[in-house]
């Protein structure tokens, strides 16, 4: 290929990613202008425009993808052919994840306009949020390990700083350093697993890996690769022996960031694990280890959550438990189970995102996170509390919420693949988890005893509106799950039947 062709093919980049990266670069400039010229709310309007643009461009990409044969779009960098260059590959799974990311990001952006009003350094805050979303969007659209790693680090770096954002208190700094240390070690192991893959196959492209890594004979190197992949992705997605940063980092971050971290960042880690494991190994190879990790994750997180007094910390432990349920879908090794996994990722992003946002509203008004001193808050902030209850019931898996649908599919898939013990463990854990969700509910609606003297009113209408919209969506997707199930079904099938087109799209 002559040089002219390389230039004419240009540097293609997926539209949502371009919107978010551009938004992140322009935000500091706009922030500077807003501070000099004193235009109020310029940054806030801009961040909402950027996140709306990201969501709309995901939709455009979806429409474009439906017309392409095989439902895979490959975007090359300056026309480099895949074994040696990075590329983006967009399929239904990428669109599904990018849709969840930009939807939650949009809601969180609206919420944080009102929540972060009193804070300083807002320009940095919005820049980092935009780059964190850009990082996640890049991860789900990456076509090779190298591109994935770059966006992985972009996401991680932004989230380290965002966790430690309120640096005038000691809590965020301690939690942030703990998060950074564990997560950076995990990144090193991810790089090590990349080098192992490169040594075995000579490429990092996912499509080439799918062909070549399955033919590598079982050797100690394969087990080393598998364990360093589990460490690399597992720390970010808080699988149990590696979860200790999460209960510190999520409560200490500002509430919109807790919602983003718990709602979608840890799931992005799980997406990476799912994508790589299904590309590189046969399901029979990793089913049992992942199933054991799932049981460990669920049980330990649920038991520890029972002991918590801190509202946000309890929700953080509940996130770990939900990761355990999602791992059931990964362990099942069937398209049905993976559909449950991705459905639960979307549902969890709504439920846990909203739980953290409502908890954030309560903390914002009362300045306390202690559950027992929040007795009777439900009577003072009725709308926020009702949305929180809906989210908690959804997380517990009560019918008529969307959490029930995805948990049902997950447990069903475990039975379908012959691991009934996994489903039993899941159901028992679900029952156990209701204990602490109901404890919050009872404490909040019972009458104040008079000695707590908390004063609270409803928060700003914008914050109430966001939580209310998410509560309605939880009920709507619980009663009418057909569209989202069919979308998740398409997304999960690309991991199984779509593999051939995925590979062909790159090799052609």
């Amino acid at each position: 290929m002559v040089a002219q062709d390389f230039i004419s093919q240009g540097f293609q980049i997926p539209l949502p990613l371009m919107v978010l990266l551009l938004g992140g670069i322009v935000t500091p400039i706009l922030g500077l202008i807003a501070e000099r010229v004193k235009i109020p709310r310029l940054r806030e309007v801009w961040i909402i425009v950027v996140t709306t643009g990201a969501f709309c461009s995901v939709y455009f990409l979806y429409q474009q993808l439906r017309t392409v044969s095989g439902n895979v779009i490959v975007m090359l960098f300056w026309g480099q052919s895949p074994p040696f260059g990075g590329c983006f590959e967009i399929d239904m799974l990428s669109i599904f994840m990018a849709g969840s990311i930009s939807f939650l990001g949009f809601l969180v952006a609206i919420y944080s306009v009102s929540y972060m009003e009193k804070e300083s350094r807002l320009t940095e805050f919005y820049t980092l949020v935009t780059f964190m979303m850009a990082g996640m969007t890049g991860i789900v659209m990456a076509g090779d390990f190298f591109t994935l790693f770059i966006f992985w680090e972009l996401m991680s770096l932004s989230s380290y700083v965002l966790v430690a954002f309120l640096k005038r208190r000691w809590g965020p700094i301690e939690a942030g350093f703990k998060y950074l240390l564990m997560s950076a070690t995990a990144s090193a192991f991810l790089l090590l697993s990349m080098s192992l893959i490169y040594g075995m196959t000579g490429t990092l492209n996912f499509a080439f890996l799918a062909i070549s890594l399955r033919e590598v004979a079982l050797s100690p190197w394969i087990f080393m690769l598998f364990s360093s992949l589990i460490i690399g992705f597992g720390v970010k997605s808080a699988i149990v022996p590696l979860h200790t940063w999460l209960p510190d980092a999520h409560p200490e971050a500002p509430s919109p960031i807790s919602a983003l971290l718990s709602g979608i960042v840890i799931e992005t880690g799980l997406y990476g694990l799912t994508r790589v494991l299904y590309l590189a190994f046969d399901p029979g190879f990793f089913q049992i280890p992942i199933a054991v990790l799932a049981v460990l994750t669920m049980t330990l997180a649920n038991v520890t959550a029972l002991l918590q007094q801190d509202l946000k910390r309890l929700l953080a432990y509940s996130s770990i438990a939900q990761i355990g349920y999602m791992l059931i879908g990964l362990a099942s090794g069937t398209a049905y189970g993976v559909m449950g996994l991705f459905l639960h990722i979307f549902n969890h992003s709504l439920m846990k995102g909203m739980a953290f946002l409502s908890a954030g509203s309560i903390v914002h008004k009362t300045n306390t996170r202690d559950i027992s001193s929040l007795r009777g808050i439900g009577r003072m902030m009725p709308v926020t509390s009702i949305s929180l209850f809906i989210a908690l019931l959804g997380l517990g898996g009560v019918p008529a919420t969307n959490g029930f649908i995805s948990k049902f599919i997950l447990f069903n898939s475990a039975i379908g693949t012959g691991m009934a013990w996994l489903a039993i463990a899941g159901v028992l854990n679900s029952a156990l988890s209701m204990a602490y969700y109901l404890r919050i509910l009872i404490t909040f609606i019972s009458r104040a005893q008079g000695d707590e003297n908390i004063e609270a009113r409803e928060v700003h209408p914008l914050m109430v509106g966001v939580t209310l919209v998410m509560a309605i969506l939880i009920i709507v997707f619980g009663l009418w799950p057909a569209p989202i199930i069919s979308f998740a079904n398409k997304a999960s099938r690309t991991l199984f039947e779509g593999m051939v087109t995925y590979v062909n799209a790159v090799l052609s």
Binding site: G171, L180, D248
Partner: protein, 103 residues
């Protein structure tokens, strides 16, 4: 084609040293150095494996490693900034004193 064994041994040593550093050391700056050693073990492994193709040295690994060096540099920079802030709050950079968050 240079022999792979010396590189393998040194990568294994660096992994052990890095992980040992993370487990034993109290000083937060040294912990970050331990992370850096782990990153460099992976980088060295990349470079060592790129020499194993017959006839040429694969430039792909080099571009990956250049990028990875930049990325872990930024991570360490953020980490050092956090160490500064830890010092402001706790007046120490001993990791064992950071025990206020429990469970």
């Amino acid at each position: 084609m240079p022999p792979l064994m010396p590189f393998l041994v040194s990568v294994a040593l660096m992994l052990v040293i890095g992980l040992g550093c993370l487990m034993i050391k109290r000083d937060m700056v040294r912990l970050l150095i331990g992370v850096e050693i782990l990153f460099n073990a992976a980088n060295l492994f990349f470079i060592a494996l790129s020499t194993q193709t017959s006839g040429y040295i694969d430039p792909f690994a080099h571009s990956v490693v250049m990028m990875a060096i930049v990325l872990d540099g930024t991570v360490i920079a953020v980490g050092l900034a956090m160490v500064l802030n830890v010092y402001r709050h706790y007046k120490t950079i001993d990791i064992r004193k950071l025990r206020r968050l429990k469970w």
